[in-house]
């Protein structure tokens, strides 16, 4: 029990209040506490909890460098410590398993090499969105896509359900940018969304707050205004249902619903 060589944890979006007790304990207990966070409180807390073993993986990012290359370097650094016999805690902001490649891949590769590895859940931006926008994914269902994946992989929208598109502010950009992302896929995104929605349909730009006492960004714009809505790299797009569900009266009756 608690003998994992690699444990992957999340610091939540707002470190103050969203960091679990178990995550704090693992950060403290590990030989190496690797982290990929930009919240200065999360970073400082990790350094405080584990002064000897804390190490930021952020230096692997560089302007215009392909993010996949950065992720692979992070994975290799993580596994090098595991192979070295150290107990490693890898911390990422949000939920470490939601829209996070290096965390998942580190666990997969560690297991493939015979090391015991585990991921703990955290609070993701989508969890914050459900709370702040007061929507329940059970109501009308929910489709979640990474925005670029949604475009290039032929994902199909059901416009009677909630739709959430992540990383709307880095659409079509596979590199890291410290100041400015070129979202060259925006025309294609609008073209695709217009196949399912009226251009006047209201959509929401959402950003979860990082600090206590800060309100979330919830900006409503008609779909056609999306390019001017001021989305950033931390923005998530929420599209409410545009039409009622298409019930199947036959099945509903067979199941006893009236």
């Amino acid at each position: 029990m608690f003998d994992e060589r690699l444990i992957v944890v999340g610091t939540g979006i707002r470190t103050i209040g969203q960091l679990t007790l178990e995550t704090i304990a693992w950060l403290k207990r590990a030989d190496k506490a690797l982290y990929i966070v930009s919240d200065p409180i999360a970073e400082e807390l990790i350094k405080t909890l584990n002064p000897a073993g804390a190490e930021s993986l952020h230096p692997f990012y560089a302007d215009n460098k392909p993010r996949l290359q950065t992720y692979n370097e992070m994975i290799e650094r993580t596994l090098s410590y595991v192979r070295d016999g150290q107990r490693v805690c890898l911390a990422a902001y949000g939920h470490p398993g939601v829209f996070a490649y290096p965390t998942h891949e580190s666990v997969r590769r560690a297991r493939a090499e015979g090391f015991k590895a585990r991921m703990l859940p955290g609070i993701s931006a989508e969890d914050c969105l459900f709370a702040d926008l007061n929507i329940d994914p059970a109501m009308a269902g929910c489709q979640t896509y990474e925005a670029t994946d949604f475009l290039i992989n032929g994902r199909v929208i059901d416009n009677t359900s909630n739709v959430i598109l992540w990383q709307i502010g880095v659409l079509g950009d596979a590199t890291f940018k410290s100041t400015h992302y070129d979202i060259k896929g925006m025309p294609q995104l609008l073209t695709k969304l217009y196949q399912s929605y009226n251009p006047a349909h209201d959509v929401y730009i959402y950003e979860a707050p990082l600090f206590p006492g800060v309100e979330p960004v919830v900006r409503k714009v008609p779909l056609w205004m999306l390019p001017q809505a001021g989305a950033s790299a931390i923005s998530t797009l929420y599209i409410p249902p545009a039409a009622p569900p298409r019930s199947d009266p036959g099945i509903a009756a067979a199941m006893g619903f009236r």
């Binding site: 930009s38 909890l49 007061n134 416009n159 400015h180 251009p199 309100e215 950033s232 929420y238 569900p245």
Partner: protein, 133 residues
């Protein structure tokens, strides 16, 4: 920034008694923590850009204007499958397909992220296929 501000916020993240006291009476908790008046005001300002810049020792951006109230969606599809009584539902796409495309804005599509914050993204599309064969 005084060092005490960051230390205090780190304590809030890891000490439930400190956090409870802050939630119960923030001004008193901040005073008791010995924070400067400027730091007390900053932490109660709700201004994310300035809090972030202060913690990172970056130049302070202009104070944010009071943020507008969140414009919350009203998802009604489940409760009112045939639309909200008394309201006409937004038109769905016709059987013929998509809506007509409006003109693109003349400006480019580059978005500047907040000057204070470059998030360390963790995901890029298609690094692997999750499809099981």
């Amino acid at each position: 920034m005084t060092r005490e501000l960051k230390d205090y916020m780190v304590e809030l993240a890891s000490n439930v008694d400190r956090l409870a006291a802050f939630m119960k009476d923030a001004p008193a908790a901040l005073r008791d923590a010995g924070l400067s008046e400027a730091d007390q005001a900053l932490l109660q300002s709700g201004d994310q850009s300035r809090i972030y810049a202060t913690l990172r020792n970056l130049p302070l951006p202009p104070a944010a204007s009071p943020s507008p109230a969140p414009q919350l969606p009203t998802v009604v599809a489940a409760q009112y499958p045939y639309g909200v009584p008394g309201q006409s539902a937004a038109a769905a796409p016709s059987a013929q397909g998509a809506y007509a495309m409006p003109q693109w804005p003349a400006a480019g599509y580059g978005y500047a992220q907040p000057s204070y914050y470059a998030p360390p993204l963790y995901y890029v599309v298609c690094p692997y296929s999750p499809y099981q064969r």
